[in-house]
Symmetry: D4
Subunit: 162 residues, 8 copies
């Protein structure tokens, strides 16, 4: 099975990124996580990205804050799909990371999810792999049903309380 890579620019991004790792574990999809910075360790980031396809990865998730270049820097060195998680930092409420991640120039896309949206990044990576993996697709469909049932259960609780 294709693996998912999860890269983050700093260990301060771990609390956000944890949700992506949890989600992949929940679905039994293999992954590797690394701390590589687009600016402080550009060589390692580049090498990982350039070799990711041949190393068995199907998608790369990259989380970074502020002038968030990590997803774009990885995308520049692979044609695997790269998913960007803009991470909120102490100023500007995540807008800087969102725009730095999503506004990529023509030729090098980054599949951007919501600010701090790590769970969705993992789901999106699995949806990509599931294009050709019927069993994973079924699991994802089932998870949707489970989520819907949770919402409906909460609605039932609301009805009995009000």
């Amino acid at each position: 099975m294709k693996k998912v890579a999860i890269l983050m620019g700093s260990d301060s991004d771990l609390p956000v990124v944890q949700k992506a790792m949890d989600k992949l574990k929940e679905f039994g999809v293999p992954y590797e996580a690394h701390i590589y910075s687009a600016h402080r360790t550009p060589e390692q980031a580049k090498k990982f990205s350039a070799e990711a396809r041949e190393n068995g990865f199907g998608a790369i998730i990259a989380a970074a804050g502020k002038a968030a270049h990590l997803a774009g820097a990885l995308a520049a060195n692979t044609t695997l799909p790269v998913i960007g998680i803009p991470v909120k930092s102490s100023t500007l409420d995540g807008l800087d990371a969102l725009l730095s991640t999503v506004q990529m120039p023509a030729g090098i896309p980054v599949a951007t999810v919501a600010i701090d949206g790590a769970a969705n990044a993992a789901l999106l990576a699995m949806q990509m792999i599931a294009i050709f993996d019927e069993e994973l697709a079924r699991k994802l469909d089932q998870a949707r049903i489970d989520e819907a049932n949770k919402v409906l259960e909460k609605d039932r609780v609301l009805q009995s309380n009000y």
Copy 2:
């Protein structure tokens, strides 16, 4: 080969979406384009999305402006990856469409590209299909080399002009 679906909320989005269609044609990837609105034809949009996987689609591209709900509405009815193109309209410079597309709640991701970034949406869809399609992956890699050479050629022109 898996097909790519391109949906737009209004025919006024066609000039933006055209670049996605051109890019898919360029790579020989089959696609279908439709005008379905999340708000004016919600049933058709939902039906298309719910049946897309069984109808042979591998990814769905959705373009919409303003309170751009189309990508999210499609994503709510399929676990195929949905790619959102926020379209700039006459006010707010595309910020409304960007936030309406990217800030999805946990559970239902939309892979968002840049405002009006239709070419990148097509490339991203092909990168997803290429996870399991080596020939398409090679084509995408080659296109990157061609793009790089164009940049380098422009640099050479610059050197001789200045």
Copy 3:
């Protein structure tokens, strides 16, 4: 008497929505509240909205955060007036929910109130019903007078304290 429906995308919206329920109770206007998500339970949301008029509702209030599609999704399936409450979440200070709710395309209006403005959503719903309900109109007028008197009383307190 026409009922008011209050829908929220998630139970995390309850603390905001509570003020709408309190206000309707205060005026003795019947209401029903539900947790239905535009993305996680699109079918239930659609069904509720499509049948709301025949089920005796006069207006629908919808509260959602981030890429807040709930109000728009409901509005797409009814011609009852739909009132949207954009809910502030952990990033972007409510701007994402505001733009996702208010910037609706031509044909499908959403009557948007302030971010987290649940009390005003309830008042607006009652103002709509009061177009043809003189007694409710009188109650709303009286509440305005009471509110004005509270402000004037606070002014009197200020005069004696300073």
Copy 4:
């Protein structure tokens, strides 16, 4: 039948407001339009609003740009529903008018539509009146079906062209 009032802060708002008048005419709903400014003719604006219910109006539409106070100033003097159209002016792309219209304090709601969203303001006013007017409700439902068919027809044209 209840009439709809359309007020604008300046005659420069007429090109935007025209779409609201056209929409009301199309549905045969009576309306009156006035140019009254919250700042330059506050007395006339106030008087109109305070007497609107007894003068047979069911809803008031107010269009204004920049620090758009008109809708709020009218809402302060009536408990009829007031619909605000934020009008884009030469700076800030309509954001100033949007925030000035929608961010109303508790007690005095304004039902805000999209920037320059005059057609939706008219539809919303008619939806309010249609709460108790079955024939108008049917007309609004039919218009939705017509709009949907237009979208589907455009989709058919797209299929034959591509």
Copy 5:
């Protein structure tokens, strides 16, 4: 001596407005403070403003949050200078109040100070009165010198500490 009026839309604005009152007291300039809301007590606000000049006021300070209309509503009823303090509320970080206060249409200016800038509003009011009051002008000049000396003293402390 001309008095300064300080109006606020709600008693929740008092902590911000307090600094304006303190500053006026410090300079011995007479003032009156009132809680009058542009939306909940429009008549009182209007009456106060319309009679302010004949009642001996030289300038009016108005503080309000969100869709902050108070300063503009007062300015519409007097040609005394009106100073607006945009007050930060729980969403949008004060941007809504700032734009609602400063973006006034031609003909009705509001002299806007920084978000929550109550001390500066008081200083500005006194600077206006001091145009024709040499003693107050001297006091304001002296206060500037005192402020400068405080900064220089802090610089001296910094030099000895580092």
Copy 6:
């Protein structure tokens, strides 16, 4: 009679500033206009400001774009009221100039008007002088009545056209 000073940071601001000069001429209030830059001619700007009171000025209007420091730099050298006009430039739609002008630190207020709001800057300057000038106050009041009548005349034209 006190004079009004109009300073602009660049001759490219002249088309905006012209409206301030026209308005002052219309009311017969004497003024002087200068091109002085806070950054390119800081000495002249400072000298003008520091001597403005003794040179017979009652208020200073300053227009500047981008990181608009001119009003603040003048305000730092006088306790005359300084009115800031944020000028829209080729990027950011005037938001940069607005924030640079209005967000002054405690102690040094700038009375900020709307982006490109030069006519209001002139009116505000005259309102300040009119605190102690009954004739000018009467003229300003009359102008308000004239403006109101123009609005009402436009409303009459609208009534006969629709």
Copy 7:
């Protein structure tokens, strides 16, 4: 003498960057200009940056739009000062490029100038070199005097015209 490097991400940035080249020519400071993209030609960009110091460069100017990563990518590979010019593109008015350029993480600074501020980028590069180059410092000082005189000349023209 140290050279200045001017890199741009695309030849579409040339009209903006031209002003930097003109300014360097005007002062007789040697420069080299290249089109290298952080995303399309990452290797060339990296190589240029890593070797810039030994190749005789004293500072690097980088211009890019949208998710403008070029300046940051260069800065990651050199400890020469890197100056970033955010370039305005067709959406978001340059805000995306500004935030992507300036919000760099700790450890890797980019000296950011105004959106489209190419002339200032060149001046800043020369100011850096002039720290140890008295003649260039004198030229820069003289240019300031010349600029001031131009402003004062424009003021004189204004005086004679009004």
Copy 8:
């Protein structure tokens, strides 16, 4: 060796500025810190800046919040490079300070770093001095290697923990 000047507009900026002082100490680069306000002590700020070059400074760092004019005011009086640190204050999340610092008019550049980016301001100042100081350049290069190793060490810790 050239010294670095660190100026701040208020002692409330000290917690942010401290990181710049720490970084300069760490590299053994001499510096002087002062509290000088562009608005409250304009003369001292101007004098310091005008004499900085002859007093042995190679670069000036200026930190200020809100309508942050300090860096620009210093830059207007010297052709030494001036580095601006926009400081986040209680409203608008630092956006006001960022735009007031970076959007300088042509002729007077300010090298702007991230909001609250004091460590980077110090690094940038040292990078400027290191253009002509090989030993400092070597130290800066070594620090980069040390930073990279810290990131890689954190990655190793992550590998052993997950």
